[in-house]
Amino acid sequence: MSISAWLAALLIVAGTGFFFAGTMGLLRFPDVFSRLHALTKADNTGLGLVAAGVALLHQSWRHAALITVIWLLALAASSIACHLVARDALARGEQREEKP
């Protein structure tokens, strides 16, 4: 295997590891905000690494650019989704405190 193939393999394996951690965080963490942390950070790091590995394997500048667009959109979408869900949970949580 060439150096880029080894590098791609390394990136994909590392990325898969982050996905595992994300799932574990989602299942183990005690409250919804901590779970949000696990999802947004671990999964997007995982996706970034897998995307970098796949871009190396495609050996095409256009595909690499396309994968970069996918990655950036995924980052923005996931971060905004995380913010919206957190804000929603916060608003509902405060409502619950007001009415014991």
């Binding site: 574990m24 409250d31 696990a38 950070k41 790091t45 913010h83 916060l90």
Partner: protein, 167 residues
Amino acid sequence: MIQVQPALGGRLPWALAVGALLFVLWLLLGGGQGPVYGLMAATAGAGIGSWLAPGTLQRLRLRPLLRFAALFVVRSVVGGIDISWRALHPAMPLQPTWIRYDLGLQKPAGRALFMITISLTPGTLCAEQQGGEVHVHALGPDMERGLREIENAIAAVFGESPRGPGA
């Protein structure tokens, strides 16, 4: 809508920028096929976009932008490692706290970028923003320093002056 003068001033550059972006996207998705149709579609998109939702172009500084991008990549990988360590550690070291962070950034684009960024960097998550105050959920103590670092990097990109340690 009522502010005709500044909107007119900014509308043409905005349309050109949107059109150029759409055309590049067309070339990227289509593999360079049908550039004439792409040009037509990009022109139509730019026209409709600047008619319905005109924005203002921000003057971005290239060198701080690259520095911010590098900071972002490094911090988001660190964020992934940090949360993975917390998730896989048998004792799950979590000390969830809430931070009220006083945001010095003035431009809406900068504020939006800040909110997107901090949810991806170690231990912090943006839950609510009201004016200059951001409600941040943190997984441990002493997270303000990382927030301040990102704020200063974004301030440099938009040409705003960085703020010292304030309230």
